[in-house]
Subunit: 163 residues, 2 copies
């Protein structure tokens, strides 16, 4: 229908697709944090659309992929690598264990912890999710074009410094 009405060449202006009249974002317009939130939210929604109908939660992908790449990893290391709090990982793992996508084995050297592995079934599901993720990333590639590496570099720096 319409969007991008933009206007007054001044500074802060932005189209907000919907109905004609643009909304002024002011300072927000130039805040990296604000756009980060919008982009992350848009990307997440798009990814969920892709995995959509299947019984796979989008949040499972990173977890499965990391276990796949690091068989025997502990929940703590997984939590750090996936950027989620350890207390967030617990219920995810419980679900994955219940669904038998993941298996765990005790670590005799440290009885508090345990080692995680994908089951063959988990590998299958991961393959499917990875296909969705690859598809999704192709869309993103399309959008960011040859700036992709630069973009990732910047995002990584933000994490490294702020986190």
């Amino acid at each position: 229908m319409d969007k991008a009405e933009i206007s007054k060449g001044g500074s802060a202006r932005t189209r907000v697709k919907d109905d004609g009249r643009p909304v002024l974002l002011g300072e927000l317009e130039n805040y990296v944090g604000f756009h980060l939130r919008l982009a992350q939210s848009a990307s997440f929604k798009a990814f969920r659309r892709l995995t959509g109908e299947s019984d796979l939660r989008p949040g499972w992908f990173a977890v499965l992929a990391i276990i796949h790449n690091n068989p025997g990893i502990t929940p703590m290391a997984l939590s750090r690598a996936s950027g989620r709090d350890k207390s967030t990982i617990t219920p995810v793992l419980r679900e994955l264990l219940r669904e038998e996508l993941v298996r765990r084995s005790a670590n005799p050297a440290d009885k508090r912890s345990y080692a995680l592995f994908l089951t063959p079934h988990g590998e299958e599901k991961l393959a499917h999710l990875a296909a969705c993720a690859a598809e999704h990333d192709r869309e993103l590639d399309e959008i960011v074009g040859d700036k992709k590496q630069e973009l990732i570099r910047l995002l990584r720096r933000i994490v490294a410094v702020l986190d």
Copy 2:
């Protein structure tokens, strides 16, 4: 003792700060979506650290700023501009009205809707939040350097295309 001796110079490997041993992210390493999530989460946490002790919720900032820049805006337009669902806006506004940071006036032309304005008290609080946000954005500026405009352009494109 340990596991994850991994390394094996293959391709995608990454250190996850904490304890020496690197965790392999594999394909994840090159997924824009993954890094978007990490960066957004890091940025959000940093912002919350800044506003931290005050009684201001970080989520209020965008809402207050947008109302400030668009006096009389409706909740729906606000929801779209701030990138949050209308059902998410409702409780935020309820709180802001209760705290008397925002005031609303009926729209005689459409009885379903209403117009939003900041109260003087709201303007004050916004000023404080804006100071935190500016501070936060300075940190981000530091990190992204002269690539900032390029970064924002890319993030905006992601939103425009995927959303």
